[in-house]
Symmetry: C2
Subunit: 383 residues, 2 copies
């Protein structure tokens, strides 16, 4: 049900010819209100695509009437012309639907450094406006795919209200968000500042802890739009949990569809002195190419886990580190533990647990293995 | 000529059976003096192998009589038994040669988390002692190879004195040194503190700027031994330059032989406000898996360079970034520059130049492309 699971929203997805395959590549999501409250979080990359610069500015008002998204081109590193093209795209939406361009967010994904073919995109926007429907959420989710093999949607909610969402992203997945575009909608009646709080809390422990390949994108955007059409104003904690649940569901789907991956790896760090320590250690493990290769080969190579932990500034004693792989404590006290032959790594999901024995904080970061297919897909992407 | 290019040194390399292939795996380097001055630098990893803990302690005296090295096992994450084995190995050298074990450095390389087979290693030490010769440098260089396809030696020097060295390392190559063992020798008459200064200065701009795969080892060791046998005490700057030249030569050989690599990539960062900024940006570029895949595919994907720069805290304006690949300025002012089709990437060496336009500092970091062969080699290493 995607972004149209919530009442008050229409969406669509059409083919504008941005993708050479002829697949759909322009999506539109419109909030018919009565509320137009919205919030957004964006990439922490300092090199930001034109649509990120635009949408960040739009969101300062805490309102969104619509979101237009295109695949087939990131519109990043495209200079003033790129920014004008983003502005022009928002204007086209505003004209087609009688909206204010200053309340239309724009998201783009695809190759960096190419100007968007506006002669195709602008007619595509008109076509998307004509196709808008209250059950167009799936079509929108399909249209934002790039190298994704499947589209990603999720929902969660309470009595009389729901949060729904769609996501794309399969490479350049790393913290400060992944290379991904996410639009969440809700018919709950929640003001913009509460949306912002819930969204930041949710992304901090979900999308920000997806680190497929360590590469941070220029275009990451997560938007949350509330129509208030249900007439229900949920309790703050209940609403925040629904937003978190949808984000967690979508984040897990991103990892499951990461480029070339054959394993989904949960890196669990326990017993850290601080959450920041736990996160630093988890990221270091998640980004260790040698370990990611070992996991690909179903090799419970805990030595590579320890060498990754050793590169951090987290509080720990090297002689008190424990590491489990799929529940087998192959490293105890910084040295050989249980028999590594007991580890079963044949499944797609692998859990690496690193216990620092320095405190009570814990985090989980999700990553993938490193495969020849990842190399192939990303060495041929632009050709 | 390796470590026996300098007068006053003997070396050897023998097969002790640590490697299942039957290749040589124990090397010995002995300083016959008259001076025994020495210095060393070690991995910055906080998880350190037993031989690193041992050799670091030995070096506090500023003297080394011998260095014993083994491939076929890293003796890392091996607990008290591992440390005892390192100590025992030094004692074996001392007994065989009539030396003080407290002046014998030990270096190990291979898999983490396995105890060394002392029943093979100790007889190997005796055999290596028996084989010592003034032209044993090549044999020693061969015996320390792991996944290296070739052994690495280099020399430089002045009138009447020389610096020679050997290195091993082909994976887990990253700063704070690479997974590598390096022994340098000189017959120049240089006191320990001057050796230390020259060695730290040299490694800082050579081995510490080799970042093949972002993975820092538990065992990295670079030792410099001076026999004084030439009777020449070179001028400080001239000696430092010779040490730097040998380190640079060996570092370049490490990159050229990195596991699975098909491209050697010089990441040059110019116009940085500080050297630390330049280094941070260069490392971020060098560690970007997507970019490394693109280079493998001979794709001048400057967008991935910009997205890597954007993840740093270095001083720059995104709209003033310039990027050249093999001399073609494919990105100017943060946007499209010269025609990417002009870039010739068919050679093994690729130069990526990122100009931050924020100051006058520059550094070069060497890395490799990411290939299916790297994945294969490192997913099958321990099996």
């Amino acid at each position: 049900m995607s972004v149209t699971a919530a009442a008050g929203f229409r969406a669509s997805g059409v083919a504008a010819g941005l993708k050479t395959t002829g697949a759909t590549d322009v999506a539109l999501v419109v909030n018919d209100g009565p509320s137009l409250a919205a919030a957004g979080v964006f990439t922490a990359n300092r090199v930001q695509a034109a649509p990120v610069l635009w949408s960040r500015q739009v969101l300062t008002g805490g309102r969104l009437q619509a979101v237009v998204l295109n695949s087939g081109g990131a519109n990043a590193c495209t200079g003033p012309e790129g920014f004008q093209n983003t502005h022009r795209t928002a204007e086209q939406v505003a004209t087609a639907l009688g909206l204010n361009a200053g309340e239309v967010a724009v998201c783009s994904t695809g190759l960096i450094g190419l100007q968007l073919p506006m002669d195709k995109l602008l007619p595509g926007v008109d076509a998307a406006a004509a196709e808008l429907s209250a059950d167009g959420g799936e079509a929108a989710a399909v249209a934002i795919k790039t190298t994704d093999t499947v589209h990603k949607v999720a929902t969660a909610g309470g009595t009389g209200w729901i949060v729904g969402g769609m996501a794309k992203g399969a490479g350049m997945l790393a913290p400060g968000l992944a290379t991904m575009l996410v639009v969440l909608t809700t018919d709950a009646d929640v003001p913009a500042d509460a949306l912002d709080t819930a969204l930041r809390a949710a992304t901090r422990t979900t999308f920000d802890r997806v680190d497929s390949d360590g590469c941070m994108s220029t275009n990451d955007t997560v938007l949350l739009l509330a129509s208030g059409a249900s007439g229900v104003a949920p309790e703050t904690g209940e609403f925040a949990e629904a937003v978190r649940a949808v984000c967690a569901d979508l984040a897990r789907q991103l990892i499951a569809d990461a480029e070339g991956a054959s394993k989904d790896i949960a890196v669990e760090v326990e017993g850290a002195a601080t959450e920041a320590d736990a996160l630093q250690v988890a990221r270091s493990i998640a980004r260790n190419n040698l370990l990611k290769c070992a996991i690909h080969g179903e090799d419970p190579n805990w030595g590579r886990v320890l060498s990754a932990i050793g590169t951090t500034s987290a509080e720990f004693d090297p002689d008190r580190l424990d590491v489990a792989i799929n529940g087998v404590w192959v490293c105890k006290g910084g040295a050989v533990g249980e028999d590594r032959d007991l580890v079963d790594m044949t499944g797609r999901e692998v859990r690496i647990t690193a216990r620092l024995n320095a405190g009570g904080e814990a985090v989980t970061v999700w990553t993938n293995d490193l495969t020849a297919e990842y190399v192939h897909e990303n060495s041929a992407y632009s050709s």
